[in-house]
Assembly symmetry: D2
Homo-oligomer: 140 residues x 4
């Protein structure tokens, strides 16, 4: 395992980015940890997220996956680096019942034009709620 590279954007910078985006603010995501090409966010629990059965609704998990990879790219390349979601595949594995959801995104492949990563929504002990693969592309 090589020494971990330092991320170009840290926790405060990424949290600032989240807070500045109007369309993201309603989710209230908090950045938990950042590494080179990886980022963990938490989705604070609130009633408006719950579907019947007190289960965190699916689009909320997909939003968390999208955000975690977006921040993982910013962590590696800097806050100003732009990329857009091109594909996002989701498998829902176990319902998140009335509990906080963490999501960890990790880039597996960085190309010049395309980023590919996986995101896992999980509880605080790492047990999976959902698994996602995400592709981002650089604007043409």
């Amino acid at each position: 395992m090589p020494a971990q590279k330092k991320p170009k954007a840290g926790k405060a910078a990424l949290q600032g980015l989240l807070d500045s985006e109007r369309f993201l603010r309603p989710w209230r995501f908090r950045v938990v940890s950042v590494g080179d090409g990886t980022c963990t966010v938490v989705l604070p629990l609130r009633k408006a997220l719950l579907r019947p059965g007190n289960i965190v609704n699916g689009p909320a998990l997909m939003a968390a996956a999208d955000v975690s990879i977006w921040l993982a790219i910013k962590a590696r390349h800097g806050v100003g680096y732009d990329a857009l979601t091109s594909d996002l595949n989701t498998a829902f594995l176990r319902p998140a019942r009335n509990e906080q959801v963490y999501c960890t995104g990790r880039i597996l492949r960085s190309g010049r034009r395309r980023f590919y990563g996986v995101a896992e929504c999980h509880d605080k002990d790492g047990h999976l709620f959902s698994y996602h693969t995400v592709t981002y592309i650089r604007p043409a």
Copy 2:
């Protein structure tokens, strides 16, 4: 082409369902049309949906896809019939720039335990913004 079967739940019943679900209410989806195993919804445009560049954000399109298939299943089997999203794959094809998004879900395969369908987010003329495949499963 066989004569179209009448859906078990119609437009008013499905709109009532949408309005009664607290976690769906913030999206403000409106049911546009319903058939046997198909449903079109519209996501009314509002500023809170827009990411920089005035583009409707991706999780909103995924939420529309999820809802359109959910309603397509209810249309076929009745409002009380329960099923849960198991997989949702999304390809973003063209940004929806400051415009209303329609989403049409259509069931391709109904099994005893599994439903498979496709959902298309599109503009009022049918041009695609995103394409989704969605699997729902019956609770065990």
Copy 3:
């Protein structure tokens, strides 16, 4: 519906392409029909394709999906036009039991760098065996 554009490569040209590729030859695909951005192939039935239960094996259906979109791109842009599979998502819906599999690929979105299409494996009456979404990209 606008008048259908004539494809740039026709049935004979696409069949010639299939026959000239060593890695494709073992499948023995035959081109059934071609249009602008669409192509149907058939996978002739033979014992070596069957898994227990006399079901056509899954990788054979995925190969058919990949080929049908590849040919749909060539149909639109010409035999010499090059693109590579980037993503291929498959849902297996119903087993193909001891019968011939047809596969119809259709491009939904042509970009400068990216092609997105759907492919359906089906029987001669159009009933689905599997559904695929396929992304091709132009080499950098």
Copy 4:
């Protein structure tokens, strides 16, 4: 990390299974290693696998992914345990140029009816060629 459970089926049993399936034999997969819910196979290089540019063809990687998860399930539950591929999503990340492809499948979630896993095609040093998510279901 808990002590690794011993797999119910070992390397020899899984290789025997591969060799006994007529539709798998042409690929010539070899089992490299087995654990509880995980299995690595190798796809021996031969000319018939190569597409122009001497790149191992995509359906071969998808077949490897499918097989590696199938064997990972057998490793956990025994050779006689039956399950069928329901979904297989693939991202091609880097071409395998004239080299042997290893594929490691790993189950992330075992349910009563559904198995979900990831498979990675990689070179001997672990560098990725492709990434796959795979769902198997128990026959009804």
